[in-house]
Symmetry: C2
Subunit: 368 residues, 2 copies
Amino acid sequence: MAFKFEVTDKSKETGARLGRIHTSHGCIETPAFIPVGTQATVKSLTPEELCGLGVQIILANTYHLYLRPGHDVIGKLGGLHRFMHWDGPILTDSGGFQVFSLSKLRKISDRGVTFQSHIDGSKHLLTPEKVIEIQETLGSDIMMCLDECTPYPATRTESQRSLELSIDWARRCRESRSQEGSALFGIVQGGMYEDLRAYGVEALTSIGFDGYALGGLSVGEPKAAMLDVAAFTLPLLPSRLPRYVMGVGAPEDLVELVSLGTDMFDCVIPTRNARNGQLFVSTGALNICNAQYRDDELPVEAGCPCYTCRHYSRAYLRHLFMAKELLAHRLNTVHNIYYFMSLMREMREAIRRGRFGRFKKNFYALRS
Amino acid sequence: MAFKFEVTDKSKETGARLGRIHTSHGCIETPAFIPVGTQATVKSLTPEELCGLGVQIILANTYHLYLRPGHDVIGKLGGLHRFMHWDGPILTDSGGFQVFSLSKLRKISDRGVTFQSHIDGSKHLLTPEKVIEIQETLGSDIMMCLDECTPYPATRTESQRSLELSIDWARRCRESRSQEGSALFGIVQGGMYEDLRAYGVEALTSIGFDGYALGGLSVGEPKAAMLDVAAFTLPLLPSRLPRYVMGVGAPEDLVELVSLGTDMFDCVIPTRNARNGQLFVSTGALNICNAQYRDDELPVEAGCPCYTCRHYSRAYLRHLFMAKELLAHRLNTVHNIYYFMSLMREMREAIRRGRFGRFKKNFYALRS
């Protein structure tokens, strides 16, 4: 089935909305959180486990897969879904963000961006056309345009130059796409400048994409600035298409951004923090390496129905973590992904029942 | 149910035998291979997965659990089974081997062995009485006596002195046990000296244990010497009790030692080698990091029904391994444990059907 988005319900008190994205690999109930599977695996978990945790869609990193094992290898083996044994929807980023955050000696020209691999130092050129070719070879369900992630802080001039480049690259991505099965999303940059964000929205919507993302957020700016930019920009995006805030975020960010009308998120927080021993609970988070859990027989969160909480004590999880056991990563990741999926499900349910305002109030009350 | 062993079938052509060990946590079909769960976890896998792979019993290391999180903590939390969510049988070693292989500044006296923790350098004294207390607190189903693992090479005098110490410690272990639910096995040392091995068997059987292990094998001696010692010593052990060869081994060692009448094995080979990328197949082993697997769409072993082989290509496994992904350890471990469990099952079936000789011939034919 071709890509399609429908809004099925709206919160009256907030900008929150309920929807459904259709892809050829299945449906995604929105607002949706997308766990990150950088190297064709959501670290430590199997696809069956992701499915059981309620994960609807995963993100894979084009930059990483292009460098290793190579998109050609994945293409030859039947595409990313088959390669990694995940038959649900996959969103691939463009690789742009990783070029700027991971690689060395990058050089930007009108043509694209030249960089050195963080793995073996080899030189590569990514162009807008190339990132579309890579994502199409991977068999992505939702592709992202190559963009330059404007850093924070950036002057108005820098932000504008960067935005113009991203718009130009977005146009070239749009022109070079060949498959009709894959959706292509534009990414709005513009730094912390409202008029630039507005200009970005205008330019990208006039090119026309299947959905729009806000980029350049959660890059070091104060949380209030992030929310201000989102609050200003999200309403400018076409309401009939999905709105995606990239790289965000913590549970409270998700609640605020859903409230502002965001439909999609991706972030490494649940998975990375799990591997660092930070476990999310309704009252906030706990750090499992804390000595107080040494002989604590309670689960991470009482009443949590996830596999980890059903079978293991904080004491056992602390032991695994302190002993650097591989199972620690798994069990912690299971809990955190469950927490995030459950949070999204509760938000969707609250929107459906016209109770999103009450949900928000309750969410914060538990944390205070 | 109290500990009980029964021999249910015998190979006519070899010394191989089929049996069943009963413990209060369930039955073990023998010959059995025991995966190692050093720190209260078989690295990277859940108990449900172990169960699904056909694992009947696991081994946990007393030395590691005594040091971290402490047997007191595990005891307080209801014992090792509950702590790690494994309700099948557990065999615990005595910690002796690890004191000699992992810790520093060890000093042996008649009383016991003093050593420094490999984790924090703290000083500890393990005595025969203490290792029984620890294993009973853990709630072990099969406890092992404290012994000194005679190194290789060792002179006759060294081997004899070491054997005498182990016999003395075994007597003290026997005297200090309090629970009738847990079985206690003696460990025959004696180095590479047949008369010492025979003397060890005599001394230990006159003390009386629920089963007997051969220790001090697979410690650097030539494989032929290991098999010679086993071939000499195993027939001296009481045939009505389980015979356990500790720390062995590779698939071909298992086949040879089953042929000589061994009922139990434990070894880190399937799990450790998995984490190093070595995968066992009927023709031997393959190293998944080999470049030839870069775009190999075949499973590790064609026809293998394990989860890994059913869903993933060698190319994907190689990618995960090269990218140092956590899932690599899991998927490789699943395959290797399946291979070992399957090998043991095939041997049991061959003994049952009076075809162990044919099985052995076929096993070697596939590898040549």
